[in-house]
Subunit: 194 residues, 2 copies
């Protein structure tokens, strides 16, 4: 149901995907509270009993969604260009993800993770991927002398990512490329070696 067991039966795959699509739309359109066995059944056309067979517990549906759902689609920026450009490219990609559906799923995760340890674990798993890319870029920049040696990389990461989350989650504002550019110039700029 929720483990990493492979599903080979095409019939199972089909219904599972139908329900998952319906659940994703419900989450994005109406929030976590709308992701119910009944509503998933109605929206997907799959029988209600079948929804229960795939996910006995309501939270399992959300967890299955959240597993790959908040995938931020981050790709490593090209090498051989200035550090600031690499960071800008990465943050622009992150901003695009946050502006889109991933932002809504992430919002749902954050709201749920406060009181559900399973969702919190899923959130931690997601966090492990994205920031690692940024950390590697900054660490490489410190090692090759692009950044001043005393730079606090963890804090710098927070300073670069935090405002994006603030814009998206609290202010509900679209994150523009110009905003990312200003952000990098303001925060990363002073840390660059001359």
């Amino acid at each position: 149901m929720s483990g990493p067991e492979l599903i080979t039966n095409p019939q199972v795959q089909r219904t599972h995907q139908l329900m998952l699509d319906a659940a994703r739309e419900l989450l994005s359109e109406n929030g976590p509270g709308a992701v119910t066995h009944l509503r998933v059944s109605e929206m997907s056309g799959v029988a209600r009993a079948t929804v229960y067979r795939h996910w006995p517990d309501r939270a399992d549906i959300l967890l299955d969604l959240l597993r790959g759902g908040a995938d931020l689609h981050l790709t490593p920026p090209p090498e051989g260009i200035p550090l600031a450009d690499r960071v800008t490219i990465l943050l622009r990609t992150l901003a695009t993800s946050l502006n889109g559906d991933s932002g809504r799923i992430l919002t749902a995760m954050i709201g749920l993770a406060e009181w559900d340890e399973d969702v919190f674990a899923a959130l931690e798993r997601m966090r492990a991927f994205g920031p690692t890319l940024l950390r590697d870029i900054l660490a490489a920049g410190r090692d090759d002398g692009s950044l001043v040696a005393r730079t606090n990389i963890d804090l710098l990461m927070d300073v670069l990512i935090g405002p994006l989350f603030l814009q998206r989650l609290l202010h509900h504002a679209e994150i523009t490329n110009a905003y990312v550019d200003d952000l990098v110039a303001t925060t990363l700029g002073p840390c660059l070696a001359e």
Copy 2:
């Protein structure tokens, strides 16, 4: 029920407060999904029908909570001290609020506001107070020459506040005074006029 109509009857005030306290504990302990007419009734000892009389809709309970609930208890820092110190004091206060119960309520608000416009309106109302203090401090600093003239105050605010939200909401980490100090030194430092 939900408007700014004054309640004078002491009997009404008493039951209203009992239910509100119960609702706040439910929200803080078990999340927004737990704030139900039934559970508020059970926890407060007030009859279920009475809970319905005060808040016909379930969302009304939450809105009543959120109205003053995420109060960040920010007080203006003293004047006559360096700008960086004023900012540090204010952010430390904000961090303390976020570490406590206000952080949980804020998390709930953010999660709900994505799909509920009433909650979003309540969130906007809350946002109007806190950041204004920081903005005034920074604006005063720019006017008296503490900050370099070309400083982007809006962005600087995001850079100062964003990491705190990131720590609290995404990382579920306690925000220490040392973190605030590092944050101010890293982000505000380069903007200070020499």
